[in-house]
């Protein structure tokens, strides 16, 4: 994966003498003390990141952690005090104003928490706003704006004005406006935070779908772990202007770098964050190879040895084939049928990436532990009721 956007030792100081504050920060003096001594605020402190082409990179942190400042440093809405922001190797932090304008017109666009739609422009004109600024002729920019509106499913509201739309629709326009210029990098500053939860999840799903189609590089700011876990390929967690951890959602979930990161899980809806894959366990004793020597009889022996009632049949590539029970194996043995014929019908299986909230009822109603498979039908493990309850109870464990 190539690096699209690279941030190197980036600092932002709000105050008169940024150099002095940076020097102090380098000596290890902390943010609060710098403020107490000089009155300057260290917004972003020595941040270095590499954002890959085509990934959704989530920057997460509580308010005041510098995440909104950081995203504005990426397109230089806020001037960096020191450091580099490299877009395809070009340093945005040191560009001339005209070059910066060209980058904003063509390469980086942004979606705002407050939507920031022009109230005097219609949906179509709002969407075409970036193109209009770039001087694209009317017919062409309307055509491109139409395409962008189709991507977000708003093509029927072309001539409405922002105040006639719901919050969710307004943010779709915001997204369409950002997509219309066909950007290489999309910055989303808490784009969905102002929406109500139901619409927010809908928009997150749509963003993920759009991303699957177009593969843009997206930098997404969020204070919401659920959201970050849902959409992020990688997550950077910020605290007091510093990036304290960068990693995949799994990394961060399972190996939080410090108490601050851990504290994010407090109050987090575990059933939304964890997926089936996260909690399933692989028990060798219950896996029955389809190619097992001795067929049905051997399978019965294996289950009886392990003191299990159910077995899970996989082929030699590890693909899930079916569930057998001792009872079904016995009847198969009596009638002389093969192992595959002993498989029970109508037993549920769950997909690896379904969230716990989606599978609760499936697991509660299943007579046995439920197998988890990935998109290629590969067997990943089992989820028992006990495991599910334990996982849901995890919220308590993470309380520091």
């Amino acid at each position: 994966m190539s690096t699209k956007l690279e941030v190197k030792n980036l600092y932002k100081v709000f105050g008169d003498e940024p150099k002095k504050a940076i020097e102090m920060a380098k000596q290890g003096i902390d943010k609060d003390q710098i403020f107490a001594e000089t009155g300057m605020t260290l917004g972003v402190k020595d941040v270095s990141l590499q954002i890959h082409t085509g990934e959704i990179f989530v920057i997460m942190g509580l308010s005041g952690s510098g995440k909104s400042t950081l995203v504005r440093l990426l397109n230089r809405l806020i001037e960096p005090s020191a450091g580099q922001v490299l877009l395809d190797g070009e340093n945005i932090a040191a560009m001339s104003d005209e070059a910066l304008r060209q980058v904003r017109l063509k390469k980086i666009s942004m979606v705002f928490q407050s939507f920031a739609l022009m109230p005097h422009l219609s949906v179509l004109e709002n969407t075409a706003f970036g193109l209009e600024l770039a001087g694209v002729p009317v017919s062409e920019r309307h055509e491109k704006a139409m395409q962008a509106l189709q991507q977000v499913g708003l093509e029927s509201h072309l001539h409405a004005y922002p105040d006639e739309l719901s919050g969710g629709m307004q943010q779709r326009v915001g997204l369409a406006r950002a997509l219309a210029i066909d950007p290489e990098v999309l910055l989303m500053d808490e784009a969905f935070s102002a929406l109500d939860p139901l619409i927010r999840t809908g928009m997150q799903d749509e963003l993920v779908q759009l991303q699957a189609k177009y593969q843009r590089t997206i930098v997404f700011i969020s204070h919401d772990l659920d959201e970050a876990m849902r959409i992020g390929d990688r997550i950077a967690i910020m605290q007091g202007g510093e990036v304290v951890q960068v990693g995949t959602p799994d990394d961060i979930l399972h190996n939080p770098a410090n108490d601050y990161v851990r504290s994010f899980f407090q109050g987090v809806n575990v059933s939304q964050v964890f997926t089936a894959k996260d909690i399933c366990r692989r028990k060798q004793s219950t896996i029955i190879r389809k190619t097992l020597e001795g067929g049905v009889a051997a399978a019965i022996a294996q289950l009886q040895d392990a003191d299990r009632d159910f077995g899970y049949v996989v082929d030699k590539e590890g693909r899930f084939e079916g569930v057998v029970s001792l009872a079904s194996l016995w009847s198969a043995e009596k009638s002389g049928k093969s192992l595959m014929n002993a498989c029970l019908l109508d037993l549920p299986i769950v997909k690896a990436d379904s969230s716990l909230s989606e599978i609760i009822s499936v697991i509660a109603q299943a007579p046995c532990a439920v197998p988890v498979v990935d998109d290629n039908q590969k067997y990943l493990g089992l989820i028992t009721r006990a495991q599910l309850l334990q996982a849901l109870d995890r919220e308590e464990d993470t309380t520091p």
Partner: protein, 361 residues
């Protein structure tokens, strides 16, 4: 105004020479520089009797610096050396005033009324058009048509120059905090200084008549427009400006595509205020020989002719209400009135629809 009632009628007659010696004439002596001796001698008479100096117990007895004579000599200097400059400066005002006056007085009154009605219909609706017709006919019926049109030309001229100067100044203020800080006290002065104070130097610099009248009106009526233009642009939400910057807008683009369009309702409120203040200056301006409705009021007061003053005053009020309604509806955008575009309503909308149905068939 109290002094004016003491004299018989200093304005209707063309400045008779004997008036100059009268103490009640507030400006007759000003150019001759004798004001100190005669006009305000009663103010300083006690100080002149015994030369007193300031002491610790009474530090403000005598002025520390002589602002009064400084201003007097300054204005005198301007009058003596820059007369030519002021003559040229008033030319554009003169031309605009000529154009407006000619346009309003040379055509048949019914044509003017019809045009007004059409404009009212366009900017607001048929109700205002009807109201416009009724009030203008009423002005004519009071036989103050000519006076009304002269006043209207005066007001329109001053509003024209207020727009020409005020809106760019307001924009400049919103773009530079330094300019804003420098201009704010000047605007305060323009709004709060009694008109009579600058009436005298204006007359000295520009003479009397309609053009200095317009200039006085501009000084008095412009500040709200500047302030409201400044305010309107400042009020544009910061997130919209930030979004525009994020999409690569230049400062000019932000101004023309975001700030000004969003400031229009506020700027229109400023235009409305400017218009109202211009009308309110009409009576004061008539003191420097500006004809029109204001002069009728002044004459009415001078002759204790309450009827005449009422007729003039009513004319001003009718004009004021009509112009106020027109500019107020300009501030509302077309969407509030139910149509999407300005060209879809009013007489232009009617023509537009005719044209559309024709092109369909």
């Amino acid at each position: 105004m109290t002094t004016t009632t003491e004299t018989t009628d200093p304005w209707s007659s063309a400045a008779p020479p004997e008036d100059r010696s009268m103490a009640s004439d507030p400006w007759g002596n000003a150019p001759s520089g004798q004001e100190q001796a005669s006009g305000s001698s009663w103010l300083t008479s006690s100080a002149e009797q015994a030369p007193i100096t300031n002491s610790w117990t009474d530090p403000f007895l005598v002025e520390w610096f002589d602002l009064r004579s400084l201003v007097n000599t300054g204005v005198k200097h301007l009058v003596e050396n820059f007369r030519g400059f002021f003559d040229i400066a008033k030319q554009p005002v003169d031309w605009m005033l000529e154009i407006f006056t000619l346009a309003l007085t040379s055509v048949h009154p019914f044509v003017v009324i019809a045009l007004f009605a059409l404009v009212c219909w366009q900017v607001s609706g048929w109700r205002l058009a009807l109201g416009g017709i009724v009030s203008l006919v009423f002005l004519g019926a009071m036989s103050v048509w000519d006076e009304s049109m002269i006043t209207l030309a005066l007001v329109l001229t001053s509003v024209f120059f207020c727009l020409l100067i005020g809106i760019p100044t307001g924009i400049l203020m919103s773009r530079s905090e330094g300019v804003a800080r420098a201009l704010r006290p000047i605007l305060d002065a323009m709004q709060t200084t009694p008109a009579f104070v600058y009436l005298v130097p204006i007359v000295m610099l520009f003479g009397i008549g309609r053009v200095p009248g317009v200039i006085v009106t501009i000084i008095f009526a412009m500040p709200p427009l500047i302030r409201l233009t400044h305010l309107g642009i400042k009020q544009v939400p910061a997130d919209l400006i930030e979004a525009s910057r994020a999409f690569g807008a230049s400062r000019r683009q932000i101004l023309y595509r975001v700030q000004l369009p969003l400031a229009v309702p506020t700027i229109m409120a400023g235009v409305n205020q400017t218009l109202m203040l211009s009308l309110s200056m009409v009576v004061i301006a008539s003191m420097i020989a500006v004809p029109g409705l204001g002069l009728m009021v002044l004459r009415g007061i001078g002759r204790l002719d309450v009827g005449l003053a009422t007729v003039g005053g009513l004319g001003i009020v009718i004009l004021a209400i009509l112009l106020d309604r027109m500019t107020q509806s300009l501030g509302r955008d077309a969407r509030e009135r139910g149509t999407r575009h300005w060209y879809e309503s009013g007489p232009i909308g009617w023509i537009y629809r005719q044209f559309k149905t024709q092109s369909k068939t």
